[in-house]
């Protein structure tokens, strides 16, 4: 009976998780095609360093330290979850114990120490959030994002507590056969119950932990917490080029080539019947798929926004909001496709309905946000693509930028000086 319940529950949890992953993958690949697979050994090294090794997390030592506590705890305690799984399939309890002997207690005690570390770190993180750390405020954090962060931290604490309850009950029941370090400190309450009651408590805690894990698994892909998976592909695909390099638009390259080619026939039919792609980005599907992956990877930590010169001087731009808006809009587009099919248009777009012109105009492309991001997200790419759309498709630019571009075209400088005077400084005895 218990095995059937376990198998059904596991199958359902894994099915819904997989279904969600497939949907996220489809959403990401709604983005503009771009091939990113060169220099793969450097990419593996980058992923190992940045995601596995948390190299950019520790730039801020306090947050970095506690984050590593949770991270290491999460990864290693999964070894215990493996046992919980096998127990579930075989209707055993602590199936590894007889094989490992005394080492089993050492191992579980080690996991308990990690779990304690996770609890402490989660409490520290909750204190930082509820204590009003400025980085976690901001207009984009109102409502779900703030709730989401708290839910994750509280659930992690509760899941770890369930482990301690189970361990303490089992320790008492084993009559001295087992000794688990942290739960031994917290086992005073086991005196209050009969062995039969402790049996029930242990069993309930086991199920609670299991159901908790499955619930967590299926919550994560809808949450900022998705970064625990996405950090890995995102750092693998993260740029290896100098941060200052922007891509050159392929669609413009062919136009410019034709304009510069004296033999080109301006009336020649376009090479294919495909509709002309939009220049720049108005909506999420115009962005590179990597920008969309960035959006799903963002965990809304706000390190980007806290170093953004525009944000710090009171402008509307917040790089974190750019990423969150991109994800929210992409989710909306994905839902539209699920409900109405690929061709459906809802008349909304990322630029305008989510991100305002004023926000993207405030960016200095200084790359502070890119440098600050612990998982190699690049908000500047999105901002520049949105600017490209405004400029190239809508000619919507500030008057001064219009004059600047005209000056560059006419006299090769952003100011209105004659090109012929460009070398004058070298002659002047000024």
């Amino acid at each position: 009976m218990s095995i059937i319940a376990f198998v059904l529950l596991s199958a359902a949890a894994i099915y819904f998780f997989a279904k969600r992953i497939v949907a996220v993958r489809r959403n990401i690949f709604l983005g503009r095609k771009e091939t990113i697979n060169n220099r793969s050994s450097e990419r593996w090294a980058q992923m190992t360093r940045v995601a596995l090794g948390q190299s950019k997390m520790v730039v801020r030592p306090v947050a970095g330290f506690f984050h590593i506590l949770i991270y290491v705890g999460f990864v290693l305690i999964n070894a215990e979850v493996l046992e919980i799984f096998i127990d579930g399939f075989t209707n055993q309890h602590r199936i590894f114990a007889p094989y490992l002997g005394a080492f089993y207690d050492v191992l579980i005690s080690f996991f308990e120490l990690l779990a304690l570390g996770v609890i402490i770190a989660c409490i520290v993180f909750l204190a930082r959030r509820w204590g009003g750390l400025k980085r976690f405020k901001g207009i984009e954090m109102q409502g779900f994002p703030t709730r989401d962060a708290a839910i994750i931290l509280i659930v992690e604490v509760i899941l770890m507590k369930a482990l301690f309850i189970m361990d303490a009950a089992d320790m008492k029941l084993s009559n001295g056969e087992h000794f688990f370090l942290v739960s031994s400190w917290l086992s005073f309450w086991t005196e209050w119950f009969t062995p039969a009651q402790l049996e029930t408590i242990s069993h309930t805690a086991w199920w609670f932990h299991l159901v908790g894990i499955f619930a967590f698994l299926n919550y994560v892909p809808y949450s900022k917490h998705f970064h625990i998976f996405m950090a890995f592909p995102n750092t693998w695909y993260g740029s290896l080029d100098p941060a200052g390099k922007l891509n050159n638009m392929e669609s413009v390259k062919s136009e410019v080539k034709m304009m510069m080619d004296p033999n080109a026939n301006p009336y020649a039919a376009p090479a294919s019947d495909a509709p002309l792609a939009r220049l720049g980005a108005k909506d999420v599907a115009d962005l590179s798929w990597k920008s969309l992956m960035d959006a799903y990877t963002c965990t809304e930590c706000g390190r980007c926004t806290s170093v953004c010169p525009a944000n710090q001087t009171g402008k509307k731009l917040s790089p974190r909001k750019i990423m969150m808006d991109t994800r929210d809009r992409l989710e909306e587009v994905g839902k539209n496709i699920d409900q109405h099919g690929m061709e459906f248009q809802d008349g909304k777009s990322l630029l305008g309905d989510y991100i305002s012109v004023e926000e993207i105009r405030a960016c200095t492309t200084c790359n502070a946000c890119v440098e600050a991001c612990p998982v190699l997200i690049n908000p500047v790419d999105i901002i520049v693509d949105l600017r490209r759309y405004l400029t190239l498709e809508e000619s919507n630019i500030p008057v001064e930028w219009g004059m600047m571009n005209t000056n560059i075209q006419n006299n090769g400088a952003p100011w209105k000086f004659p090109a012929s005077d460009r070398g004058n400084w070298a002659q002047n005895n000024g």
Partner: protein
């Protein structure tokens, strides 16, 4: 003292080719303050006996501000025209005192067919000092002076060049103080991304004034810069804080020239 500067065209007419092209940039060519930096740098090249030339009227904007304002068409037109000129003169190596030109020429032109060795003047100055070709006077103009260096985004974060400008400053025998936001954490001056050419969006204060708070904590004699736009922004900041009589904003090349002057 006026440096001796020839153009690529003049050299080509004599059948000569320089060792290196000095890409002056729009600011270095037209902005009066930045022209003084161009002259100082040309002076250094002269003094080191480096064979160089400028393009003069054949140089044109790299297209950086247009690209960052979203006008990719203007950028690529500029790039293609510049690449034609550079290739016609068979340019191999380029030095520039502008981090924006540097970034664009080095990172964005290769994909459009323009492949050159591009270095920023801070790197060249560091090399020349290391090789002993620039000899800085002991007890020169900046001995014991308090200097802070403002990292340009397009030199620092954009291209990872943090040490070269500092090496130049250390060679001056001055006291180098770092601002609280320096190197990777350096705060932008507010000019990048074509902001130089328009009014800032509405906010509480200007970015260069925010940056001046970092400068004021140091109270330096000199704010050293390596970018003509940072120069404009920080000079404006110094004015806004009414510090013109106590601090100067100087480019690395000017510091080198003045140390020995």
């Amino acid at each position: 003292m006026t440096p001796n500067i020839t153009t690529m065209a003049e050299m080509a007419a004599k059948g000569e080719k320089p060792e290196i092209l000095f890409w002056v940039g729009c600011a270095g060519s037209f902005d009066e303050r930045a022209q003084r930096v161009s002259k100082a740098f040309a002076q250094i090249l002269n003094d080191c006996g480096i064979s160089f030339a400028i393009l003069g009227s054949e140089e044109s904007c790299t297209g950086d501000p247009a690209k960052r304002a979203g006008d990719e068409m203007t950028f690529q037109m500029q790039a293609m025209m510049n690449i034609q000129v550079l290739d016609a003169y068979e340019v191999k190596k380029i030095v520039t005192a502008c981090p924006h030109c540097f970034n664009t020429l080095k990172n964005e032109y290769p994909d459009l067919g323009g492949n050159y060795e591009v270095i920023h003047h801070s790197t060249l100055l560091q090399q020349l000092i290391n090789e002993g070709r620039i000899k800085l006077k002991d007890g020169g103009a900046f001995k014991g002076k308090k200097i802070t260096f403002h990292d340009s985004c397009y030199l620092g974060r954009a291209n990872g060049i943090y040490e070269a400008p500092r090496a130049v400053l250390e060679a001056l025998d001055a006291d180098l103080f770092e601002m609280k936001r320096a190197k990777k954490n350096g705060l932008c001056c507010g000019a990048g991304g074509a902001q130089m050419f328009k009014e800032a969006e509405a906010g509480d204060l200007e970015i260069n004034h925010e940056r001046m708070d970092d400068v004021m904590e140091i109270q330096p004699d000199v704010v050293a810069v390596a970018c003509p736009f940072c120069m404009t922004m920080l000079r404006d900041g110094v004015k806004q804080k009414e510090q013109e009589s106590t601090m100067e904003v100087l480019d690395l090349a000017e510091l080198v020239v003045r140390q020995n002057g």
